[in-house]
Symmetry: C2
Subunit: 289 residues, 2 copies
DNA sequence: ACGCCCTGATACCCCAGGAGTATCAGGGCG
DNA sequence: CGCCCTGATACTCCTGGGGTATCAGGGCGT
């Protein structure tokens, strides 16, 4: 019995995401009938019903949900194979290091300085992304290493090395009554009247309940903070987030944030290994912020 | 630009492993010319030379070596997708737990007992494998969870939970002079005349140098030990390895072995999660052996 | 109640491209 | 010198993926 072809996986993912054969076919650039046929063949090859068809569209079965997760992972692995191979063939490929815009600013600065100071180090390209995007970029080969933050990022499936541990601070408008305090607790910060905490999407894309605004990108957040519309609890080192009319007050019982360097497991590339080694060597002599 | 198809990956892997187009074609059940063509197309689609052709066969380029690793991972992910989906469609699928034959005997026993005692727990199927096979089984979906041993197994790419830490013992024929000692060091054990330590393959399949016999399977080893031809240093709990005419002497400076339970990252299956929880609950009340 | 329309399924045809056979090209080695 | 083993090329064939046209059935508006 043959393996599935990536074409079948792509078709399946399209239907699973659109929940509509016609739209999925459109998105794939093919006609609807061959798509229906392909999915039906896929189902009978697997011996499992993936969709419940219905006059108003298609719905995923339980098995279909498993398939969606697995198919995406498999497609990522396939395009990672292509991308990494291409890059391996390129003699002076730069390493791509991805990190959240604005996070671990100083650490990144030091890391880049340290790499610049090393004689034979490969050039490094820095890619800034939004919250939660690093894992995908790393998984599908568009990046080689990432700076991520425990416990907020999804580190599943990567090798990691801890680089730095720090506390978190609350960011308040200078005029705010709490701004003069020299320490706060999460409980105090949780419901400051008129300054709700912004809500980030969870790993699955849904938002937690609460009064604060839903934010998805750093720039949305930046604007809300500048407007004095939201309160922010962030790692102490996130300097880029400081605005002139805001002050940072340590939140003593907020979970500590560990900055880690992460890379795809089994990637024994010497360039990645030496970058990780350089990063690990910074540990300890990074000044506390 | 399209994704690669798994057919192309399979073809590439066959050639990369055989290093010979004819044999690879044979193994794939196709003729040699279409295989040559497919590989050439693959190369020009990637823009990278994967093989150095030669009148005596084919050799992998650096990029080819990257591709081999990535292609295998991608193919594993694809067949994992199929396998897991099939299993998800099966209403009373048992969980498959894989472990090395003979290792962590008592822990496994306790885990199975604990699971049997739980009301709603899914049935668990135990799969015993040879050294180093767990990772592959887990990665390609033939198993759901594995008991593995740090630092000897390759845990890259899995989520893990530590279950148990223990020292190692040397296994000696009862009549041996060292058998009466109550402790040994690695240095003493390293070259006992006439009792060389068996050599296991490394992760890449090659064997370290040394005087001892090369072993690949537990049964090979069992026979060598029974014959008194090799000396064994193993975790203290590996009871199944004890033969009536051998004694176990602690090796004080051997690295400690941590038994971990491992599962594919992102597998949020409730059945796996509850099994892991049960296993973690055993931690601490496992008697030291 | 009828019929439109939107859903996915079926029927049938076409052709791109994957696979086969035969053959070539070149270098090591008897 | 010529055999043989390697992979590459030339061509032919035909499978199977894709297209168009059409069907089937149920919600819903009139």
């Amino acid at each position: 019995m043959h393996d599935l072809e990536t074409r079948e996986l792509r078709y399946f993912v399209a239907v699973a995401e659109e929940l509509h054969f016609g739209r999925a076919a459109d998105r794939l650039g093919i006609a609807q009938p061959p798509l229906s046929r392909a999915i039906r063949q896929l189902e009978q090859r697997l011996g499992v019903r993936l969709f419940d068809r219905d006059r108003r569209g298609a719905a995923l079965t339980d098995a279909g949900r498993v398939m969606l997760r697995e198919a995406k992972a498999a497609l990522d692995a396939v395009s990672a194979a292509a991308r990494r191979t291409r890059r391996a063939g390129d003699p002076q490929r730069p390493l791509v290091l991805v990190t959240k815009a604005g996070a671990s600013h100083e650490l990144l600065q030091r890391l880049l300085d340290a790499l610049a100071g090393e004689p034979g180090a490969a050039p490094v390209e820095v890619l800034l992304c939004e919250v939660g995007e690093q894992a995908g970029l790393l998984r599908d080969g568009r990046a080689d290493v990432a700076l991520m933050h425990r416990p907020y990022d999804d580190l599943a499936g990567f090798d990691t090395e801890d680089l730095h541990v720090e506390g978190q601070v609350a960011l308040l408008p200078a005029a705010h009554p709490l701004a003069s305090r020299d320490r706060l607790t999460l409980a105090e910060v949780r419901d400051v009247p008129g300054l709700p905490i912004a809500r980030w999407p969870r790993l699955d894309g849904s938002y937690p309940d609460g009064p604060g605004p839903e934010v998805r990108t750093q720039s949305q957040l930046a604007q809300l903070v500048a407007l004095g519309r939201t309160l922010l609890v962030i790692p102490a080192s996130s300097r880029a987030w400081q605005w002139p009319d805001h002050v940072a007050v340590p939140v003593v019982d907020a979970p500590e944030v560990t900055t880690v360097i992460a890379w795809p497991p089994g990637s024994r590339s010497p360039a990645v290994a030496s970058l990780v080694r350089t990063a690990a060597a910074l540990r300890g002599n990074v000044a506390e912020v």
